[in-house]
C-alpha cells in the first residue's frame, strides 16, 4: 500500500474543500428555495468522501446513501450534472427523476444514492459477483450510516460477501446519530466494526475526520478485496456539523457536539499537516478555495440556466424496452 505523496495529499485537500463548499452552497440554495426535496448534507464528514475516493480506482464502484452528494463529488462526478439534478432540471444527471436521495452517475461508477437505508449492503455483493466473473479487478465500496447498520441487509450482505470472498468494502459512517436517535442507544455493543469478527472478516474503527486514516483503511481493504481475500468492514467515527436534514431543529443534541466537530475539522487538520510539510501556505489554500468556488459557481450558473423537464418526460426512462401501448 502506497502512502499518499504530495500530489495525492493536495488533491485530497482540494477534494474535501470541494465537498464542503458544494454542500454549503447546496444548503444556501435550499434555504433560498432554489432546490426542492428532503435534503441531507455531509458537512463535517468530508474526510470520508475524499479519503475513500482517493483510495479507490476510477473504475471502482461506490454505493451511497441519502447523504451522498459528497461521495459523488469526491468520486469525480460532473458537478454540473449533479447540481442540475438537485435543481430537478431536465439535463440533470438523472433527468430530474432522482434528485438528492436517488442520484447515480454510472460514468464514474457511482451506482446510486439511496432513499432506503442499508440497501447498498445487499446490492454490493452482486456487484462483487460481477467483478469476480468479469475478472476486472475492480472493487465496490458501499456506504451506510450507524443507524442503517441495524437493518437486516447489513447482516445478509456482509455474510454473503464473506462466504464468497467478494471484493466489497463495507464502509460505515458513524456520525453518532440516526436522525434524532443516538447510535449509542440503538447499536448494541456500541461498535459496528466489532460485528465483523462474527463473520471472520477484518473490521476496524478509524477516525473519520482524519483523511489519511480513511485513505489508509480503504487502501488496505481494497487491496485485500482485489487479492481475492474478500470483504472488510470499516467504521469511521465522525461528526455531522449540520442538521440531519435541512430544517432539523437538532433539539436532541448539544451545541458542544457541533463545536467538537469544528475543533476536529478534517480540512483544517490536513491543512496543518500540509503546512508543516511545506506543501501548502495561506495563499495556496486560498487558490484552492477560489478554484473550487469557481467550479461550483459554474455548476450553479449552469443549473440555474437549465430548463425544467417537460412534464410528460415523467413517462420516460422506466423500461429499456416497452413498445406496448396500454
Amino acid at each position: 500500500m502506497t502512502t499518499p505523496g504530495p500530489d495525492a495529499l493536495l488533491s485530497m485537500y482540494a477534494g474535501m474543500v470541494r465537498v464542503r463548499t458544494f454542500e454549503e452552497r447546496v444548503r444556501e440554495l435550499f434555504a433560498a428555495g432554489r432546490i426542492p426535496g428532503f435534503l441531507h448534507t455531509s458537512v463535517g464528514q468530508e474526510a470520508i468522501a475524499a479519503g475513500t475516493a482517493a483510495a479507490l480506482r476510477p473504475d471502482d464502484y461506490v454505493l451511497s446513501t441519502h447523504r451522498g452528494h459528497g461521495h459523488l463529488v469526491a468520486k469525480g462526478g460532473s458537478l454540473r450534472g449533479l447540481m442540475a439534478e438537485l435543481y430537478g432540471k431536465a439535463n440533470g444527471i438523472c433527468h430530474g427523476k432522482g434528485g438528492t436521495m436517488h442520484i447515480a452517475d454510472a460514468s464514474v461508477g457511482y451506482l446510486g444514492a439511496n432513499g432506503v437505508l442499508a440497501s447498498g449492503c445487499v446490492v454490493a455483493p452482486g456487484i462483487g459477483l460481477s467483478i469476480k466473473q468479469r475478472r476486472s479487478g475492480q472493487v465496490v465500496l458501499t456506504f451506510f450510516g450507524d443507524g442503517a447498520a441495524n437493518r437486516g441487509p447489513f447482516h445478509e450482505g456482509v455474510n454473503m460477501a464473506a462466504i464468497w470472498a467478494l471484493p466489497v468494502v463495507f464502509f460505515c459512517e458513524n456520525n453518532r446519530w440516526a436522525s434524532t436517535t443516538a447510535s449509542a442507544l440503538s447499536a448494541a455493543g456500541g461498535s459496528i466494526a466489532a460485528r465483523a469478527a462474527g463473520y471472520a472478516i477484518p473490521g476496524e474503527t478509524i477516525d473519520g475526520n482524519d483523511v489519511l486514516a480513511v485513505h489508509a483503511a480503504v487502501s488496505r481493504a481494497a487491496e485485500r478485496a482485489r487479492r481475492g481475500d474478500g470483504p472488510s468492514l470499516i467504521e469511521a467515527r465522525t461528526i455531522r456539523w449540520v442538521g440531519h436534514f435541512e430544517g432539523d431543529a437538532q433539539a436532541y443534541r448539544s451545541k458542544e457536539e457541533v463545536a467538537e466537530g469544528r475543533r476536529t475539522d478534517p480540512i483544517a487538520r490536513l491543512g496543518r499537516l500540509l503546512e508543516a510539510r511545506g506543501l501548502l501556505d495561506a495563499a495556496g489554500a486560498e487558490r484552492i478555495r477560489t478554484a473550487v468556488a469557481a467550479e461550483i459557481d459554474d455548476a450553479v450558473t449552469h443549473a440555474e440556466a437549465s430548463p425544467l423537464p417537460d412534464p410528460r418526460e415523467a413517462l420516460t426512462d422506466l423500461f429499456a424496452y416497452y413498445p406496448w401501448r396500454e
Binding site: G37, G98, S186, P311, R312
Partner: protein, 322 residues
C-alpha cells in the same frame, strides 16, 4: 374544536394511551415526533417505556409488535414512511395477517400500523408511494384511510380498540390540514363510509387527499350546475359497500379517485365492487382517476405530472356525463 390532521392523531394517541395502559407506541424518532410531529410530546406524558424510539430495524419494529400484541399489549407502530413497510413485508403479510387464522383463533392480534404515505414536496421515489393496494390482497388485515382530522382521530381510536391488526394510511400531505374535531371522545367505526358532499348527478368515490381534490372539483362543477356526490369509504377493509351502492343507484354515474398508480390499484378493486353491486344502475362506464404507472419522480413538474388533482376529477366527471 379545530385541530389539524396530525394533532388530531396525536390527540387520539393520548386519549387511548390514557385509557388503556397496554397501549404503547414504537417507531423511529417518535419521541421527538420527527418528521411529521404526530407522536410529539407523548413521551413527556407517558414516559420512555410507552414511547419507544426504535433502532432502524423495520422488521424488528413490526415483528415485535406482533409478539407484544399476542401477549397482552396493544402496539401502535409508526412506519415513519409507508414506503418502508417493504422492509417488514413478511412481518405484515405472512406473520401479522395470518397468525390468528393459522393458529385457529387461539391468539388475538390487537395492533395498529400507522402508515404515513403519499406524494409531495419532491420526496422522490422512496418517500412518496401509495402502497395500500398491496394489503387489500392480504387477507387478515383491516385497512383505514382517513381524509379529515375528525376521521383520523376517530378511526385511529377505533383501530387501537380493535382486536385485529389495522393499517391506518395517513397521507403526509394532510397532516397540516385543519378541521373541526368533536370535543367529546368520538369514535369512527370501521366499515362506515361518509358522504363528504351530497349530489345527485355523479358519485365520486375518493380516498385521503383525493377526497379534497374531489370536493374542489365538486365546487367547480357546481358552478355549471353539475351536482357531484363525494363518498369517502374511510375504511377499505371492511368496506361499506351499501353506502357506495346506495349513492351509485341514485346518481348512476361513477368516478373513482385515488393517488396511487392506476395498474392493479385500490381504485380497480373499488371499480369491481361497483360493477358487482350496481352493473345495471350504471348509465356510463366508470371513470378512474389515479396516478400514472411510474415511480414518483423528484423534479417538481414531473412530480406534479404524477399527482392526480381536482382537474383530473373534473375531467373524469365530464367524461362519465357526456
Amino acid at each position: 374544536m379545530r385541530l389539524d390532521f396530525g394533532d388530531a392523531l396525536n390527540l387520539a394517541l393520548r386519549e387511548e394511551m390514557r385509557r388503556d395502559p397496554r397501549v404503547y407506541c414504537i417507531g423511529e424518532d417518535i419521541v421527538l415526533g420527527v418528521p411529521f410531529g404526530v407522536t410529539k410530546g407523548l413521551s413527556d406524558e407517558f414516559g420512555p417505556e410507552r414511547v419507544l424510539n426504535a433502532p432502524i430495524s423495520e422488521a424488528a419494529i413490526v415483528g415485535s409488535a406482533l409478539g407484544a400484541a399476542m401477549t397482552g399489549l396493544v402496539p401502535v407502530v409508526d412506519m415513519h414512511f409507508a414506503d418502508f413497510v417493504t422492509c417488514a413485508m413478511d412481518e405484515v403479510a405472512n406473520q401479522i395477517a395470518k397468525s390468528r387464522y393459522m393458529f385457529g383463533g387461539q391468539i388475538d392480534c390487537p395492533l395498529v400500523l400507522r402508515m404515513p404515505y403519499g406524494i409531495g414536496r419532491s420526496g422522490g421515489g422512496h418517500h412518496s408511494n401509495s402502497v395500500e393496494a398491496w394489503f387489500l390482497n392480504v387477507p387478515g388485515l383491516k385497512l383505514c384511510i382517513p381524509s379529515t382530522p375528525a376521521d383520523a382521530r376517530g378511526l385511529l381510536k377505533t383501530a387501537i380498540r380493535d382486536p385485529d391488526p389495522v393499517l391506518l394510511f395517513e397521507h403526509r400531505g394532510l397532516y397540516r390540514l385543519g378541521g373541526e374535531v368533536p370535543e367529546a371522545e368520538t369514535l369512527v367505526p370501521l366499515g362506515v363510509a361518509d358522504v363528504k358532499r351530497p349530489g345527485r348527478d355523479v358519485t365520486v368515490i375518493a380516498t385521503a387527499r383525493m377526497v379534497h381534490e374531489s370536493l374542489e372539483a365538486a365546487r367547480r362543477l357546481a358552478e355549471e350546475g353539475i351536482e357531484v356526490e363525494v363518498v369517502d369509504p374511510r375504511s377499505l377493509v371492511p368496506l361499506d359497500r351499501a353506502t357506495l351502492a346506495g349513492s351509485v343507484r341514485r346518481t348512476n354515474h361513477v368516478v373513482i379517485a385515488e393517488e396511487g398508480p392506476m395498474r392493479g390499484s385500490t381504485g380497480a378493486w373499488l371499480a369491481w365492487v361497483v360493477m358487482e353491486d350496481c352493473f345495471d344502475d350504471l348509465d356510463a362506464p366508470i371513470a378512474r382517476v389515479a396516478g400514472p404507472n411510474i415511480p414518483i419522480p423528484f423534479s417538481p413538474p414531473l412530480e406534479a405530472f404524477a399527482t392526480p388533482k381536482a382537474d383530473d376529477v373534473v375531467g373524469a366527471v365530464r367524461q362519465v356525463l357526456k
